[in-house]
């Protein structure tokens, strides 16, 4: 599904934030992305959602070399990826409804179907009665749930979440993890960046651990010791 080959990333003339990263995300897999603050989790995410080009190496997405694709093809690929940003990135001048509807509108879905979809999902995340409010008038957790809804509304093949439970209490947090599990069972590939030990410990998915620009993989279901290897998953 996604394949990184000797990928490196630096910002401007700074040092390499990610260096020589090689791994494969198989279709339908579920991964946690961990690492200390500033390790490059968000940066790796931005490479995954094709929001940035690596400074070296190649990224294969959905079977295609992204270095060789046209802009139009890249846009089409991106429509298969849902992203929950660390800082939400809701559009503050648009209601919760319009924020969530955005990916469907970009995909060109008709307005009636869009309305039904969006209302159902907002109900599910518990925001059915404030969907016409603007994000800045809502609580941190409510904003995060809008961000989640926006990421999953278009049924993405790859779902990326950057600290999706940082502002949620445990109950909603676990419910959200349940949603992710469910989406994963239905075939969505999922990568979640988190430092919540509670979440990490409760789910037996493989962990991508970033440290000093290197990616290590730890698979709790096959081995209980923290073996860090620099090989493909």
């Amino acid at each position: 599904m996604i394949k990184f080959e000797h990928v490196g990333l630096r910002y401007g003339i700074g040092p390499e934030v990610l260096s020589d990263i090689t791994f494969t995300l198989t279709s339908g897999s579920f991964h946690f992305l961990c690492g200390p603050s500033g390790a490059g989790k968000t940066s790796l995410m931005s490479l995954l959602y094709l929001g940035r080009r690596p400074t070296r190496g190649t990224i294969q997405a959905f079977g295609q070399n992204t270095n060789l694709l046209s802009r139009t093809d890249l846009a089409a690929l991106r429509q298969n990826i849902g992203v929950i940003f660390q800082d939400f990135r809701l559009l503050p001048h648009m209601s919760a409804f319009d924020n969530v509807a955005l990916p469907l509108r970009i995909n060109g879905m008709n307005e009636k179907k869009t309305k039904a979809h969006v209302e159902e999902l907002l109900d599910w995340v518990g925001l059915g009665d404030c969907m016409h409010r603007l994000p800045p008038t809502m609580s941190g957790g409510q904003q995060q749930r809008i961000a989640v809804a926006r990421a999953v509304i278009a049924n993405p093949k790859l779902l990326l979440a950057d600290e999706p439970t940082g502002n949620l209490d445990d109950e909603i947090g676990m419910k959200l993890m349940g949603l992710f599990e469910q989406l994963n069972k239905m075939g969505t590939t999922i990568v979640i960046a988190t430092h919540s030990l509670q979440i990490l410990d409760s789910l037996p998915h493989s962990r991508l651990i970033l440290e000093n620009g290197q990616l290590h993989i730890f698979n709790p279901s096959t081995s209980s010791t923290t073996i860090k290897e620099n090989v493909d998953v």
Binding site: G51, R71, N80
Partner: protein
Amino acid sequence: MSRIFSISPKRGVGYDVPLHLKLGTEFLVLLISLMAFLSILAATGIVGLGHITKAWTSGLENSITIEIPAANVSEDEVQSLLQGLLKIEGVQKAQRLGQKDMEKLLSPWLGNVSSLWEDLPIPALITVTISERNAQITSKIAVTTRKISPNATVDAHDAWLSDLLKLANGLRLVSLGVFCLIMLVTATVVAGAVRSRMAIHHRELELLHIMGASDSYITNQFVRYILVQSLKGVSFGILIGLATLGLLSLISRNNPGTLPEMTLSGAEWSLFVAVPLLLAIMAVMAARITALRVLREMP
């Protein structure tokens, strides 16, 4: 707090990027209306000037006047000259101006004193109509005239006619230059506006981009915004243009003679719509090209 600064959430406006909330929109509209007004002025200038020169030169352009001084007028000479002229290829007509014509021509100078007519030494005037003005014909006419009637003078209207046409065409060229300049300035300003709005909203653009919005989806937002503002501006411009024209025609009606009369034909009235529309199209194209160019730098 938030009540004071409240911004109502209207989907109706329909921009994913909050362009409509930005300052500078009024200024953009103002500028475009000014540009529309000026471009209308320039265009009507080009057309109107054409009319005026045509009015001045009509009948003169394809005619040559030959004058035989009063002292030398002999009926035979005039007749043989007419014969000679008509033989030249390209001459359509050669006619002596009759008494009536002469009176008409001279009355502004001499008053309507037809009683004095017979006492005056009147020169003979021959009007030659040619099919097309070119150096060959005029020189042939001059040669023939000199042969038959050596005292006659040939007035080909050449000097002042060409001066006048040069002036008029110069002015039209200037108007055209101004017109093009207006288009260019408008396009530049619109491009600048789009560029800076894209810089201000780059977080939103980036988001749309990541969501898989194609370049044309994003570009359309800016194109629509510029289109709406342009149409607003252009409408104002047309109104100001019409008001100015009305004022001018009112002045020229009340003070006849002070302003050259300029009447536009039906088709030419469409300039008032076509020119501003062209301006709006320029603006939209500038917006589109700029937006696409900026987006192309995104990964």
